[in-house]
């Protein structure tokens, strides 16, 4: 856990730095004229009784459950009200939940976008209504108050670079297991991957089927590809849980260790288990609990600097933690959350 705490500290410091930089000279000037006590009262005034609402695509996944816990813990600790709505993958319900929160005029709205486009118009309405919109991990086309999450293109590029390093010499055959074709994370991650692959010129993508976030489908696709390309060097996909299916197919073919399995996503217990058993080889992950805390930190900074919604958009990119089969330790993953 020590490592996590350190990581958390680092992120907090970073968040504060970014927020302050964004706030600029005006804010800095005001603060410098006050005593410590006045800063404290600014802090209390700014956050007292404010509400932060969180709308993920669905709860019940490690990723969103950690976000939920992260935001809840941090927000309630500083006396904010916290509301979460679970649309359970129903886009209609999600749109209704967001609309309702906007008409209720919550102060801060945190949304995980299923798509780059779907809520853009609602976000504009929200910010006109005085609600700050923070987009979590998956951004939309609308540039709202803030974005907290992974820098997907550079993330994809980082993974891609490592694949190039591992595979360039081994024939360079790579299969990409896509999540859903239109999901933002999937699109930008793949853009990053392809950037890296093109730059090297030595990688041959033999298959890029979409498994619809389903491990079983990933399994079947990988099994079929392996038959065709026994000399496959690596499979890679944007979600570790899904890639476990791919790893399973490789294990069945007796090629564990020969064909590398790359995943990405939240560092949750099953990921570490899979790394230990060799189902996954490398996982480019992040701690979504801390992403939740980042969100609240950003809110604190915005509140104290009294910026209007959308006035100074910022992005807080999450640091990536690379876990490899050889080096994975128990502390690297968070345990799944049970029923509350």
């Amino acid at each position: 856990m020590k490592r996590n705490i350190l990581k958390g500290l680092a992120v907090t410091v970073m968040a504060a730095t970014v927020a302050l930089a964004a706030g600029g000279a005006i804010a800095a000037g005001k603060i410098s004229g006050k005593t410590e006590r006045m800063v404290r009262s600014d802090f209390v005034d700014a956050l007292n009784g404010k509400t932060v609402a969180f709308v993920p695509i669905s709860l019940g996944l490690p990723l969103s459950d950690f976000w939920d816990a992260g935001i809840r813990d941090a927000a309630t600790a500083i006396g904010m009200n916290y509301v979460v709505k679970d649309p359970a993958w129903n886009m209609n319900a999600m749109s209704q939940a967001i609309s309702a929160l906007i008409s209720e005029k919550v102060d801060y709205l945190v949304v995980q976008n299923p798509d780059v486009q779907v809520f853009a118009k609602l976000f504009r309405k929200a910010e006109q209504n005085g609600t700050h919109v923070i987009q979590l991990n998956m951004a939309s086309n609308y540039r709202s108050s803030g974005f907290v999450g992974v820098d997907w293109v550079s993330h994809g590029q980082e993974v891609g670079d490592d694949i190039v390093k591992q595979c360039a010499a081994k024939g360079g055959k790579v299969a990409i297991v896509q999540g859903e074709l239109t999901a933002a994370a999937n699109v930008w991650f793949n853009v990053g991957l392809m950037k890296a692959f093109k730059a090297s010129g030595k990688i041959n993508v033999v298959n890029d089927q979409a498994a619809q976030w389903d491990a079983t489908k990933a399994h079947d696709i990988t099994a079929a590809v392996l038959q065709q390309h026994p000399d496959l060097c690596a499979t890679v996909g944007v979600w570790g849980i899904m890639m476990m299916g791919s790893g399973q197919a490789i294990k069945e073919a007796g090629k564990t260790g020969e064909v590398l399995v790359y995943g990405s996503g939240s560092n949750s217990r099953p990921v570490c288990d899979s790394l230990q058993t060799g189902i996954l080889d490398k996982h480019y992950g992040y701690d979504s609990y801390l992403q939740g805390r980042d969100v609240v930190n950003a809110i604190q900074a915005m509140a104290q600097m009294k910026v209007e919604p959308g006035e100074r958009p910022f992005a807080l990119y999450t640091p990536i933690d690379v876990l490899a089969k050889e080096t994975v330790a128990k502390d690297d993953c968070r345990d799944l959350m049970g029923k509350k």
């Binding site: 309702a100 118009k121 859903e180 074709l181 239109t182």
Partner: protein, 708 residues
């Protein structure tokens, strides 16, 4: 019997909750009443449970989402009514949304053209379904399931190519903005459009030929085909219509959110289906309306919105959605199956009827009613050629007219009435007959009203409705069972309607109730107005104008009474009883040549039935537990004719003791020294000579004077 229970039973004879419920249930507007109450319940629940629910902001917000969903539910409803199902509504919705955005944002077409093209594309997708289901006769469920997957996959394939274009290009248009976010008198514009379409759709579905065809195919495909309805074509166009409605929904969504995502419209088909069924649209087809669709849509939208806002998480929402669906469909299935059974179980509501001591009618007794053989050897007329001559009348030429079961008026002429011809074909069940001053034959037609036949055989309507009784649930303005009539010197037509609760074929059930369900009505040909004079009469049957034209006599069949209603003179408007406690059930009354009146008795009372009439509880149990053919009905196997004076003295009785030739007698008419007999179920008209009667007397003269 104690006073209290006596009072109770008398009150019960007048008012009954059970009857109210039965009449309510048989109302067509009651069917959506349950969904409507459910909808109100959901709205009230949300208003109470969610703070600030009833604010203008929130209502506008919720209702702007309503339009899109409303269109999709309408689309689902029309195909459900035709007996199909459309699972591809969500996919067509998503496709239309996408096409609208591409056309508007990327190609920047004018908005009118966008609307037309989107509607066309929706219609085209619907046409694919329609062709497969209507013309190739595939099962609707599997077919639309497959088209759902194909349309969605096509959408997923093409959408990414335009996704960035749609997102980045931004076409400004006031009309587009208005469609998505504008309001008219505070109501979102898209809801206004939905309402307009809903009104048109309602007219189409319930008031137009194509709409009737749709419902006919849905309720009975075979019958519709036999009736010559173009089944394949109608089904095809219904799916086209469904597709267009979905695309309208998609268009509204495009204008409101300006976005097209891979999961747009996902799961919409299940939601729309649940909404339609919840609103009372039947899955079995043939039953459903625009109103019901919108009620269901509102309930589901408010409920899901409410659950989301209350923070109910995924799991319970799914479980609740499934449960609601099960309960709604379960009620629908069970209700459709058992509704008529339930109504018929509670429709007959027996009341207390105490007739008094049964007068003696045994043979050879001193009683005036003592049975005899006076009618046994009546001369048969038209034997086997007239089916059920309820009433008979003769014209000045001595020809007999009578109504038959076929709905015809037969004319029998010739020396021995051997020439039988169909004088007029009216339909319904012709009952009481009377000639007016111009020798038009006026007929009470069971199931239709009062009609007339001119001497040349032309049929015309006199009246078929009266003023509706206020505060009565069942609409009694239409005449159900006009029974007998007579005409006053001023031309006013007085006629009886035996019961307003039963039809011609089930009139005997009215007797089981022992309630005043009938009425006396007057039609004035001068003004064309029909007005009810006396209500709550116990099966008013025969009507006869007194010789002086000042009053009418009328017979009350179940309570075995003759009453008199004054239409002129000092007692005008009052009713008095002439005879009480007859030994049988009186039917038609007619004048006799000696200034008295003939009365037919359709059947005689029996001690058992009299006892049953005093025991409403017994009859209630019988009606509920025993099949209708086994019920105890009043006896109609043995009738008689009596003669009575205007003061109520019974002068003579005539019987067919054998009950072979004239078992039930429903009418008799004196004409030039003969008495002619009619019977509702008989296969003949009978005639007996009346030796003491005036051999020149005929009723036309008696009413209208000798012919000029």
């Amino acid at each position: 019997m104690s006073v209290i229970s006596d009072t109770y039973l008398k009150l019960h004879a007048k008012w009954s909750l059970q009857r109210t419920v039965a009449e309510l249930l048989s109302k067509r507007w009651m069917e959506p009443a349950v969904p409507f109450i459910m909808m109100l319940g959901v709205i009230v629940f949300c208003a109470v449970a969610i703070p600030n629910y009833l604010t203008l902001d929130n209502l506008t917000d919720t209702s702007s989402q309503f339009a899109e969903f409303g269109f999709v539910v309408l689309a689902m409803t029309v195909v459900l009514v035709v007996g199909g199902i459309d699972l591809s509504v969500g996919a067509i919705f998503a496709m239309a949304d996408f096409i609208a955005l591409v056309l508007f944002n990327v190609y920047e077409l004018p908005i009118g053209l966008v609307v037309i093209l989107v509607l066309l594309s929706g219609g085209l997708l619907g046409a694919i379904n329609g062709f497969l289901i209507g013309y190739l006769k595939l099962g609707a469920f599997l077919t639309t399931l497959v088209t759902l997957i194909i349309i969605r996959a096509t959408f997923d394939l093409t959408a990414p190519t335009f996704a960035i274009d749609i997102a980045t290009s931004y076409n400004e248009s006031a009309a587009w903005e208005f469609l998505g976010e504008g309001t008219l008198w505070g109501i979102p514009a898209n809801v206004c459009i939905l309402m307009v379409i809903a009104v048109i759709g309602h007219a189409l579905l319930s008031r137009s030929r194509p709409g009737w065809h749709i419902a006919a195919i849905g309720s009975n495909r075979k019958a519709a085909r036999h009736a010559g309805i173009p089944i394949n074509r109608t089904i095809f166009w219904t799916y086209v219509l469904s597709g267009m409605l979905c695309s309208l929904g998609g268009l509204m969504y495009a204008a409101r959110l300006n976005s097209s995502a891979s999961n747009t419209g996902d799961g919409l088909e299940v939601m729309a289906l649940t909404a339609a069924v919840l609103g009372g649209v039947s899955l079995a087809g043939g039953k459903g309306s625009v109103g019901r669709a919108l009620i269901g849509a509102t309930t589901i939208l408010v409920l899901i919105n409410g659950l989301v806002r209350l923070g109910v998480t995924g799991g319970p929402t799914f479980a609740l959605e499934g449960l609601i669906m099960l309960v709604a469909v379960g009620i629908d299935v069970k209700w459709m199956k058992n509704k008529n059974k339930a109504i018929s179980k509670i429709y007959v509501v027996p009341a207390l009827l105490d007739l008094g001591e049964l007068p003696d009618a045994t043979e050879n007794s001193d009683s005036i009613y003592a049975q005899n053989d006076a009618l046994t050897n009546a001369e048969p007329i038209g034997l086997g050629k007239v089916d059920g001559p309820e009433d008979v009348i003769l014209d000045r030429q001595g020809r007999i007219y009578t109504g038959t079961r076929e709905g015809w008026i037969m004319r029998l002429s010739g020396e021995n009435f051997e020439d039988v011809e169909v004088f007029a074909r009216i339909g319904g069940r012709p009952l009481g007959l009377a000639f007016d001053r111009d020798e038009n034959l006026l007929v009470c037609v069971g199931g239709m009203g009062v009609y007339g036949v001119r001497p040349d055989g032309e049929v015309f309507k006199v009246t078929d409705e009266t003023n509706r009784t206020r505060w009565k649930i069942a609409d009694d303005s239409r005449l159900r069972l006009a029974d007998d009539l007579d005409i006053a010197p001023d031309g006013k037509i007085y006629f009886s309607e035996a019961t307003t609760r039963y039809e011609m074929h089930s009139w005997a059930m009215d007797g089981l109730e022992g309630r005043g369900n009938g009425r006396i009505i007057c039609h004035d040909p001068a003004t064309g107005q029909t007005r009810t004079l006396i209500r709550n009469l116990m099966f008013p049957n025969g009507i006869c104008l007194a010789h002086d034209g000042q009053s009418i006599f009328f017979a009350l069949t179940w309570i075995c009474q003759i009453k008199r209603y004054w239409i002129a003179g000092p007692k005008k408007g009052t009713v008095e009883t002439v005879i009480e406690n007859l030994p049988g059930n009186p039917d038609n009354i007619n004048r006799s040549s000696d200034g008295n009146y003939w009365l037919a008795m359709t059947g005689m009372r029996t001690p058992a039935y009299d006892l049953a009439m005093r025991m409403p509880g017994f009859r209630t149990r019988m009606v509920k537990r025993v099949p209708p053919d086994e019920w105890l009905y009043s006896n109609i196997n043995n009738g008689s004719v009596i003669k009575f004076t205007a003061e109520g003295e019974v002068l003579a009785s005539y019987w067919d003791k054998s009950a072979e030739n004239h078992p039930a007698i429903t009418s008799m008419r004196e004409h030039r020294g003969y008495l002619y007999l009619g019977g509702l179920m008989n296969n003949r008209i009978g005639r007996i000579p009346l030796p003491d009667a005036d051999p020149t007397w005929d009723s036309s003269d008696s009413y209208w004077g000798p012919k000029a």
